[in-house]
């Protein structure tokens, strides 16, 4: 599938220059998310929880065929139907076939990154099926006709005023309405769609093999409604979402919420084993689980990148990332943005397609410290950079610069001379015309470098 990743640098520049509100909204929201995560990690033995979660996921991913077949058998025994999709097109076809089988006219959706990945909504809309995003943030973005810009807070790049203006136009609320009033207007607009809808479509946070349990975490209650009221529930699940045991959920449900929003657990968790059984009063008559590969087995086969499949989609790495904070997710050009996107997208799409994302990082390491399943994101970024270098995918300027650096680093005399020249130049007006330093110095006063080089200072003994 073609993505907009290639234009990342240009789009990032454009967002920063033309829409400074995005940077302000995203930075504010992510700092708030991250502070809550830090406080929440401090309440538990976070290191022990993260190591445990890493271990369970590693175990699952190294026995994945066994757990996939176990989950399938269990779901079928529970009365659910299991489908397998090798790629996005197959996943869409399965949903379309189910929609036709049930003469579906209205679909309510729970927030799902995977349905964004497989581009599901446009396919349903082409078949004249009304698709309504029911998560408040996703609902807002559907009205704006924009994709989500953050895994967890899809609309964090929108300010209160932007939402006010939109709602005034679409839902006729007052131009100075407070968030409560706006949310109430959205609730009213969405109130009967759950009852009217024929089908609820969701993703899944986890799929438990031993019980066939589809687990979904949320705060609003829209996912519980979308999986409870329509006749048919379709859960679209990446094959990496497996967990072996029901009890594993306890740690993962709590850790995901702590990493994502700093809550002890999501306000609502749905644990779905299958369709409603008699004599239940309500609940779906059919539950379908679509297991999607779409590049995940390629990631699994990669010697290093397979560790990225542990990802819980909590967004903690986005929240701490100084690069993500500048632009939000739209600049990245694909559904998975931020640090995790930069290591996952090359595996899912192929490195060529995902360039230059592995370079969209300062390698500060904050993403690893935040990650609830200890994905070594900085190491994986370096690995992808190495592979990009080997495959000749890096820009010629950079290859030349690296070759130059290597040449200099292996010739001490040349290295010393270059160091001296650099410190002299940096002190003059010429600094602003040097590559990279020029852009950095655009809005800053340059510090005055020492007249002596580091090596000279070192020899003299640093005070």
């Amino acid at each position: 599938m073609p993505t907009g990743i290639r234009d990342y640098p240009a789009r990032a520049r454009e967002i920063i220059r033309k829409d400074p509100l995005v940077r302000e909204s995203v930075t504010g929201a992510t700092i708030a998310f991250d502070e809550k995560r830090r406080r929440s990690y401090a309440e538990i033995d976070a290191e022990a929880w993260r190591r445990w979660a890493e271990g369970v996921k590693n175990h699952t991913l190294t026995h994945l065929d066994r757990y996939l077949t176990e989950a399938e058998a269990r779901l079928e025994a529970n009365g659910a139907e299991v489908h397998w999709a090798e790629d996005a097109a197959e996943a869409r076809e399965i949903v379309m076939e189910l929609a036709q089988r049930h003469s579906v006219r209205d679909v309510v959706k729970g927030k799902s990154m995977l349905t964004e990945e497989i581009d599901l909504n446009p396919a349903l809309e082409r078949a004249r099926i009304d698709v309504l995003e029911t998560d408040l943030g996703e609902f807002i973005l559907q009205l704006f006709n924009e994709p989500p810009s953050h895994i967890l807070g899809p609309a964090i790049h929108k300010s209160l005023q932007q939402v006010r203006n939109l709602f005034t136009e679409v839902l006729r609320t007052d131009s100075d309405a407070d968030p409560d009033t706006l949310a109430q207007a959205a609730r009213e607009a969405l109130s009967d769609v759950f009852i009217r809808a024929d089908m609820g479509i969701t993703g899944a946070n986890f799929l438990v093999a031993e019980t066939g349990t589809v687990a979904l975490i949320e705060n609003e209650g829209n996912i519980r409604l979308a999986t409870s009221l329509p006749r048919v529930h379709v859960a679209i699940v990446g094959i990496e979402k497996l967990l072996p045991r029901m009890t594993d959920l306890a740690g993962f449900l709590q850790l995901t919420a702590r990493a994502a929003t700093g809550q002890p657990i999501g306000c609502f968790v749905s644990l779905i084993q299958g369709p409603a059984l008699h004599p239940e009063d309500d609940g779906p008559e059919e539950v379908h689980v679509i297991l999607v590969d779409n590049g995940r087995t390629d990631v699994l086969a990669h010697e290093h990148a397979w560790e990225a499949l542990r990802c819980l989609r909590c967004g903690a790495c986005l929240n701490v990332c100084p690069v993500y904070r500048q632009t939000g997710g739209h600049a990245y050009g694909y559904v998975y943005s931020g640090p995790i996107g930069s290591v996952l997208d090359p595996g899912l799409l192929g490195l060529h397609e995902a360039m230059p994302l592995p370079f969209a990082s300062s390698l500060c390491g904050a993403c690893f410290d935040a990650c609830p399943v200890r994905i070594p994101i900085p190491e994986l970024l370096l690995e992808w950079r190495r592979e990009a270098q080997e495959a000749g995918l890096t820009p010629w300027k950079e290859r030349a610069a690296l070759a130059g650096l290597a040449g200099m680093a292996t010739r001490p005399g040349l290295y010393r001379a270059a160091g001296k020249l650099g410190s002299r130049l940096a002190g003059t007006g010429m600094a602003r015309s040097l590559p990279m330093l020029g852009a950095w110095a655009e809005d800053r006063a340059l510090p005055k470098p020492s007249r002596r080089t580091f090596r000279e200072l070192w020899r003299a003994g640093i005070e």
Binding site: P179, G221, I239, S270, D293
Partner: protein
């Protein structure tokens, strides 16, 4: 070969050369000494409310007065099928979509996550559609850890309900300007009745 077989074959190939890593076992967090008190603390800090019925009155009569005393006063209720007769309020029963409150019975609760554990056999619409959700938590059914509760649910095996909901506070969202609002889709008030 079907798509299923091709995916499973790719998974097997991808993991063939890799060492199979062991499951680390249970997370084993130390349990709270007083699960009921720990539940109340956690549940209320997430915005849930906890009340204790007046022991001097019949449960049904107490709940009726409690619901009538809410603001706005509850006129019509939806009641889950698993609420025992003596715990049902004496108010007109209406469909969940029109009820001022839903009354249901929990299978249990978990102290560490502050969650009410609600089986689908208790009626899903009752638990979700009314603006206020009142939940009877049976005595002695507060598990110290969610892990213990899930282990107990697992033992139900074939009798595991088709769906189980964990409700750990009122419905909320911070999607508009990062300001928290409650009652977005699900109940804006979630009230646990202990005992």
């Amino acid at each position: 070969m079907t798509g299923r077989e091709r995916i499973l074959a790719r998974v097997a190939r991808a993991t063939a050369g890799r060492e199979g890593l062991p499951h680390p076992g249970p997370l084993d967090v130390p349990p709270a000494d007083d699960p009921a008190a720990a539940f109340v603390k956690r549940f209320t800090s997430s915005g849930g409310e906890v009340v204790e019925p007046d022991p001097g009155r019949p449960a049904g009569a107490w709940l009726t007065a409690f619901l009538e005393g809410l603001d706005p006063a509850v006129a019509g209720v939806a009641i889950g099928p698993e609420v025992p007769p003596e715990r049902r309020p004496r108010l007109p029963e209406v469909a969940a979509a029109h009820a001022g409150a839903g009354v249901s019975a929990a299978w249990g609760a978990a102290a560490d996550s502050g969650s009410l554990i609600l089986p689908s056999t208790g009626g899903r619409a009752v638990q979700l559609l009314p603006p206020v959700h009142v939940v009877w938590v049976p005595e002695g059914r507060v598990f110290a850890r969610l892990e213990d509760a899930l282990a107990e649910l697992r033992k139900l095996d074939e009798d595991l309900p088709a769906a189980v909901g964990l409700h750990s506070g009122p419905s909320k969202s911070a999607d508009i300007g990062q300001t928290v609002v409650t009652g977005v889709h699900g109940p804006g008030r979630c009230i646990a009745v202990m005992g």
